[in-house]
Amino acid sequence: MWYHKPVINEELLQSLPNLKIVASSGVGIDHLDLNLLSSYGVKASNTPFVVSTDTADLGMALVLASSRRLMAVSPDTEYFPADWLGAEVSGATLGVVGMGTIGYKVAERAKAFEMKILYHNRNQRNKEEESAVGAIYCKKIDDLLQQSDFVLLSVNLTPQTHKLIGKKELELMKPTATLINISRGLVVDQDALVEALQNKVIKAAALDVTYPEPLPRDHPLLKLKNVIITPHIGSATKKTRRLMMENMTESIQAGLAGLPIPNEVF
């Protein structure tokens, strides 16, 4: 399964009596109906760890691109106005929502830019991990939202994280803050985000993921000047894609041989 296709539904499963395993590319499995698969006795796997550094790199790239306004350059330029300014990343506060493998790697990178790092996670990480990146735990997401200059979402999509960032959360954020999403489009209430950006409730957003992908061409997000959208390229590098495919092949081979499946998801 590559980029969530082909779509696995009841009809397809019924027509494939010998199907043993579905190997899905990437780490997200929100597009898989695991109950359905298991009712047909089909196993599933993903590719969790290989995507993490590239996705973290992209997260950092979006933090930098949005703060220094890299995308705001136009072909109509006659001169460069002297008051065209960005904001410094060094010394700013990054709030990581979801400190898993990817979130942690973002924190490692952000530390080198002398960013102050807050994080919110279901569970607090241990002291060594926290102090290695200088991250401060925020048990309540509200605390993180109120103090961060950049809020970066790196959770997976589950019923609990669906629309995790809505109108209330956006209003808690600083008006000078930027929202970065490298998780899934549905983690953000997109309509609330449009409104928040239009009314300058927050300063800007940088989204590698939206819902749907791509957005309909008349969607308001495409028209806003304070939004950067990239076409879900978190893991889009040659090496990583190759590693993903190798992982998937291993999982398939194990699944077909009846052996324990690497990266199996339940």
Binding site: T53, L85, A236
Partner: protein, 431 residues
């Protein structure tokens, strides 16, 4: 004796009666932090400025007149303009006004006779105003040109020195934001951010192609040409991405190497042949002019990306166009070009394997303010005839220029030198 715990660079103090000159207390940060005791009665480092020829020198000034005189007694600083397309920013103008009488080029030209004698300093912002022979001849009392930014390649240092005028720059304020832009450009070009954005918003996009790929940054090889203050900070950031870091510099920097795990390449060719990303962080001098030409581009990997955050003229631009068109290298990302901006029909603007940003290395709210503060401190020190601590003793030769070495708020120097900020900084153009 006045000692301030709060870090305050400059504090105007009220005139004492009987003194026509305006005294400023220049709290030297290094001194303040080291708790230096003033052995003189009264205020530390009182600076006296020459009164204007027309003022009433030597007379007793009554209190209400004091404030008015104070403003006129401030040394004049010339700027191109306030606000508008090329003028200094409003907040920078406000900072300047605290310590100088701000004179715009327009005011100067309208009233040359009176203004020319008042101007003791020029604040150069984004290369303006242009300092030419004519201007220097018309400013008899000019002592110092305070440049905002670290590059001084736009100034004819020899000519300026012939007029007995000093030049100062702001290496401290520019280092972090410029390093940030360097890494931002490296990430943006590697992951094809600009192209990606265009795909994401294009009216023709129906789906996202699954074979749309960029290249990895983590664990790739970064070659830094010019390991000065900015280059070192780039290396610090690159280390967090687990990059293999090579550097080429006129001189080897062993301690810094160890701190960031960088490998010295005595020959630039070695760096060019091994790097996935080549970043130029030198200053522009006759030696670095067209440092990267056809030969150097040919030595680079065909999969490599060239990033320039130094000066446009460090690259042979025509050779770069050819190299990018023929895929001799993969891509380029330039914050600087020659000229700026490029003519709208320039071939570089038509390529799709290039990112160009409008010289925004220090274009942040914080950096603009810090550069102004650093420049102001520099200019005031020169005008007061202040001895500059560490100026001679700590000169260090970096990259291809001669820069004084100022330590920053970050842990850039692993051997634990105390933090000193905003020390007046000279750039000696003539060696």
């Amino acid at each position: 004796m006045f000692r301030s715990k709060a870090f305050s660079l400059l504090k105007p103090i009220p005139l004492m009666s009987g003194q026509p000159n305006l005294a400023y207390k220049f709290i030297h940060p290094a001194i303040a932090s080291h708790g230096h005791r003033c052995h003189r009665r009264g205020v530390d480092y009182r600076q006296r400025y020459k009164t204007c020829p027309g003022s009433a020198g030597g007379q007793t000034i009554s209190a209400p007149q004091t404030k008015v005189m104070a403003e006129e007694e401030l040394p004049g600083v010339l700027v191109l303009d306030i606000g508008g397309t090329h003028g200094v920013l409003e907040n920078v103008a406000a900072l300047l006004k605290k310590h100088f009488r701000l004179i715009t080029m327009k005011e100067f030209l309208e009233n040359k006779k009176e203004m020319s004698k008042k101007i003791q300093s020029v604040f150069v912002f984004e290369g303006r105003p242009t300092i030419d022979q004519e201007l220097l001849e018309s400013l008899p009392n000019l002592k110092v040109i305070g440049n905002s930014g670290v590059g001084v390649d736009h100034l004819d240092l020899k000519m300026i020195s012939n007029f007995g005028v000093k030049v100062t720059n702001t290496p401290h304020a520019v280092a972090d934001p410029t390093a940030d832009i360097g890494v931002a450009l490296m990430l943006a070009s590697a992951r094809r951010l600009v192209e990606g954005c265009q795909v994401a918003v294009s009216p023709d996009t129906k789906y996202f192609a699954v074979d749309w790929l960029g290249v990895e940054v983590t664990r790739a090889t970064l070659g830094i040409i010019g390991m000065g203050s900015i280059g070192y900070r780039v290396a610090q950031r690159a280390r967090a991405f687990d990059m293999r870091i090579l550097y080429h510099n006129r001189n080897r920097r062993k301690e810094e190497e160890e701190a960031v795990g960088a490998h010295y390449c005595e020959k630039m060719e070695d760096l060019l042949q091994q790097s996935d990303f080549v970043m130029l962080v030198v200053n522009l001098t006759p030696e670095t002019h067209k440092l990267i030409g056809k030969k150097e581009l040919g030595l680079m990997k065909p999969t490599a990306i060239l990033i320039n955050i130094s000066r446009g003229a460090v690259i042979d631009q025509d050779a770069l166009v050819e190299a990018l068109q023929s895929k001799v290298i993969r891509a380029a990302a330039l914050d600087v070009t020659h000229p700026e901006p490029l003519p709208r029909d320039h071939p570089l603007l038509k390529l799709n394997n290039i990112i160009i940003t409008p010289h925004i290395g220090t274009a942040t709210v914080q950096a603009t303010r810090m550069m102004a503060e650093e420049a102001i401190a520099n200019m005031l020190a020169v005008l007061s005839g202040q001895p500059i601590p560490n100026h001679r003793r700590r000169r260090a030769t970096w990259a291809f220029g001669k820069l004084n070495r100022w330590h920053t708020r970050s842990t850039a120097w692993p051997h634990g030198v105390p933090e000193e900020t905003f020390l007046p900084h000279y750039h000696e153009g003539i060696s």
